[in-house]
Amino acid sequence: MSAPRATRTTALPAGAWWLWALGLATAASRTTDPLLLGLLVGVAGYVVAARRTEAPWARSYGAFVKLGLVVIAVRLVFAFFLGSPIPGTHTLVTLPEVPLPDWAKGVRIGGRVTAEGMVFALYDGLKLATLLICVGAANALAHPARLLKSLPGALYEVGVAVVVAMTFAPNLVADVQRLRAARRLRGRPDRGLPALLQVGMPVLEGALERSVALAAAMDARGYGRSADVPRAVRHTTSVLTLGGLLGVCAGTYGLLGEAGGGYGLPLLLAGLAAALGGLWLGGRRSVRSRYRPERWGVRAWLVAGSGIAVAALMIWANSYAPTALHPPAVPLTAPVLPLWPAVSVLVGLLPAFVAPLPPGGDRADRTASRGRGRAVDVDPRAKEPTP
């Protein structure tokens, strides 16, 4: 039952990874226990380390971790200077308080900084950071562009636009670098803001030209071919989509407002159904087919299921151990690691064992064979000289 190597046939659908990560994120949103949150981060990190590819986006995990740390820091700085609504008795320092006019009542700058307030802010920041890190894990394991490929036919063209836009960003960066280098050749400084601003125009011109070239190439390769659809079906599609969207709007308004409690939910559901019907019918205009779509196999279900299980178990734990999941900041107590919720978080480790091994994932083996000085099968991508 050891995991196979990931090829195009065995690769997991992007959706499975995102469900798993969203499951972990949901679990994180249900607790403020720093130990449990730390455990969740550890689980996500371990799975990423075990199963990420060598694609450029797989490195984004580190960036998300850093972003999480920044979030915690910002939260703490705010709590330090702006005070916190948590009453506390352990005063750390007392800052001079800025007197504010009457209309700014409720806002405080400076004043007493309590240990309880800081701890509360830390827990809160940690929760947010964990959410971010879970999203980062999904991002590292499955590029969001791959998710777009599973869009229904009617939304396909939107998906392509997003994918094309995403590949344009790196091109734009390369253009800026090239043109800044070219400024050096004209004897102008290549660093600093003016240099960046002056290459703006040529970069935009280049981007525009590239988009026109790409559009021509896509057109010549059949992008936007559509099937002949009877008039009646076309009109039904428009009516369903428009009507559905109106229904969704009205239903949401009803749900949020006070008066429409009765009709809100049914209207929302009917609108949603109509809009989905419209999308489905709209898909008939598109003649496209899908080449080797990713399949939901047992392993995909296990990965997605483990995430969902973590979320469900954590929600359930909220009913039997609410205090353990939310350690109070007042009075200050050391957080404990509740046994059963911790075990349920560990369920999220399942993908590290069942998900297919990415190619090049045996980094340890490769380094070992290099150490022994054996002939290495050189990855043609890396132009490093072999030792």
Binding site: V160, G187, A216, A217, A220, A227, V287, R288, S289, R290
Partner: protein, 560 residues
């Protein structure tokens, strides 16, 4: 298969049609080559076949273009996608997806083919083009030749009857170009695909063509015929044809093999004659008046001027990330010397040039350019020591008229007003001040960028792939200009795939492979012995050390 009936195309508000009077038929299963100087409308003709003219570009098309019986006036490009496959000049700019396999499938997905058909055709195409090893690779990591093959494969999967290619080998090194051409050969021979391609590098393609369509000048009616007949009258022709015309061989040879069979007499006549030193300017094809008359300048010798060293590189290593791009490079360039830097795509040629202008700090060794260390010198000061014309000359041009460009160039270089304009007048006699640099032809833009760089009078001049997109006339002008500059004492380094250019111009050739110098010596010694870097004349006349047609022409005149 492709029929043009009295076609003329006029773009937007242009006064004259871009092409007119085109009336021709390309039969099924032929490899048809479209040739002509720059700006005669080759791209317009190609785009008219796939329907991008006029549907995408705008403009007015008169007459009729039909492809496999479908009229392009009533069929949009996307409706022709199953009969015409189009491969553009820069494949990377036309890729829609990010991996090889997805790119191959993209066209079929658009046509809505059944999944099992798609799967089978992708596998067949991977084998046909030798791409099976690359199937999971990201497109951005491929080399130039691999990209071009993927681009061809991506349009082949829809089984088009016609394949249209715009300069498929221009950007490739000689070996990669051979790969791409053999794929095209195979398509024509085995699958009966009709191929229409435009190419400036005729020495690479003309021997494979079944038919040649010549657009002799803008607005002139095309000439179509067998390659040998058309080449006899064509203003653009490869060196082997020039040699054949010179020696009055009939029928004209198109390949080195044909020429060698006919060349026995010429070889005996030339035995015993010593060719003039390579690079020391012989006149080019009869246009050798003006700056080209530098023929009396001998190739500089190492001991001529003791302090005449324009650049000295020793033990140079350059790293980009973890990759060592250059390793232990030793190179000295003297003033007045022209050096050609050759090697396959990715061998480190461009990196070496940019290290000489200080864009990459060396990881090991030292670089000295005219007494300064480039990466520690400010751009303004460095400008007086070394100038680089990048692969895309447009990167150097910011202003919206030629005149404004010249003014800023004078300011940048601290040169007296008008010096850049004087350079432009010398390199590009007939360009008005008010033209936008973007509207110039490739050759004119290169000349403008060269003028801008020369304004600061750098003793060392670097050119990265200067002949990309140039026709033979523009190339001949460039050769004259560079010879004159070398005669004035500039040291010139060219990074190029163009073996004919190197043979005409360079005193010395340096071949790079995997970041190391593998050959360094006088042009005739290095290139004659190399199968991929030898110019056509050298291949025809081997083992005699003749490199260019003008050399042979001079010798024949002298012995006549």
């Amino acid at each position: 298969m492709i029929r043009f009936e009295q076609v003329s195309v006029t773009y937007g508000d242009a006064t004259a049609p871009a092409v007119q009077g085109i009336d021709l038929t390309v039969p099924e299963g032929e490899l048809c080559l479209l040739v002509g100087p720059s700006g005669v409308g080759k791209s317009t003709v190609l785009n008219a076949v796939c329907g991008l003219v006029p549907h995408f570009t705008g403009g007015t098309l008169r007459g009729r273009v039909t492809v496999d019986g479908r009229d392009t006036r009533t069929h949009k490009p996307r409706e022709l996608a199953d009969v015409v496959g189009t491969v553009g000049q820069d494949p990377l700019a036309h890729f829609v997806t990010d991996t090889v396999e997805d790119e191959l499938a993209y066209g079929m997905e658009s046509l809505g083919l059944a999944p099992d058909v798609m799967r089978r055709r992708v596998e067949e195409t991977l084998d046909l083009l030798g791409l099976a090893e690359l199937r999971d690779r990201a497109l951005a990591t491929l080399s130039g030749g691999q990209r071009q093959r993927v681009a061809i494969g991506a349009v082949l999967t829809t089984h088009p009857k016609v394949l249209v290619l715009d300069e498929p080998t221009s950007a490739l090194d000689p070996a990669a170009a051979e790969d791409v051409l053999s794929v095209l050969q195979r398509l024509v021979h085995d699958l009966g695909t009709t191929v229409l391609l435009a190419e400036h590098r005729l020495e690479r393609v003309v021997q494979y063509a079944d038919q040649v369509i010549l657009l002799p000048s803008p607005g002139a009616a095309p000439v179509m015929g067998a390659p040998a007949d058309v080449m006899a009258v064509s203003p653009v022709h490869p060196p082997v044809v020039a040699l054949g015309r010179l020696a009055h061989w009939s029928p004209l040879p198109l390949s080195v093999r044909d020429a060698r069979r006919k060349a026995a007499a010429l070889r005996t006549r030339l035995t015993g004659v010593t060719p003039p030193a390579p690079g020391a300017g012989q006149a080019v094809g009869g246009t050798g008046t003006g700056p080209g008359a530098a023929s009396s300048v001998p190739a500089p010798r190492g001991d001529a001027v003791p302090d005449g060293i324009a650049a000295a590189v020793s033990g140079l290593g350059v790293r980009r990330g973890r990759t060592e791009v250059l390793h232990g490079v030793e190179l000295t360039v003297r003033r007045g010397e022209t050096l050609a830097l050759m090697g396959r795509n990715g061998a480190g040629k461009s990196t070496l040039l940019s290290t000489l202008v200080g864009m990459h700090p060396p990881a090991a060794g030292s670089v000295r350019v005219g007494g300064v260390t480039p990466h520690r010198t400010g751009p303004r000061a460095l400008l007086r020591h070394v100038g680089l014309v990048p692969q895309e000359p447009r990167d150097l041009l910011y202003a919206d008229t030629v005149a404004a460009e010249c003014t800023t160039a004078d300011q940048d270089a601290g040169a007296p007003a008008g010096s850049c304009r004087a350079q432009v007048a010398r390199l590009l006699p007939d360009v008005p001040d008010s033209v936008h640099p973007r509207d110039l032809s490739e050759g004119q833009r290169l000349a403008l960028a060269l003028a801008v760089v020369l304004t600061a009078r750098p003793p060392l001049l670097l050119l990265d792939e200067p002949t990309r997109g140039l026709d033979y006339a523009a190339k001949a002008r460039l050769i004259e200009v560079l010879r004159a500059l070398a005669a004035e004492g500039h040291a010139i380094i060219l990074a190029t795939h163009d073996v004919e250019l190197a043979a005409e111009l360079a005193h010395r050739v340096v071949i790079l492979a995997d970041g190391e110098i593998v050959a360094d010596g006088p042009t005739d010694e290095v290139v004659v012995s190399s199968p991929s870097f030898a110019p056509q004349v050298a291949k025809v006349l081997a083992p005699l050390p003749w490199l260019t047609v003008p050399q042979v022409a001079d010798a024949l005149e002298a012995t006549a």
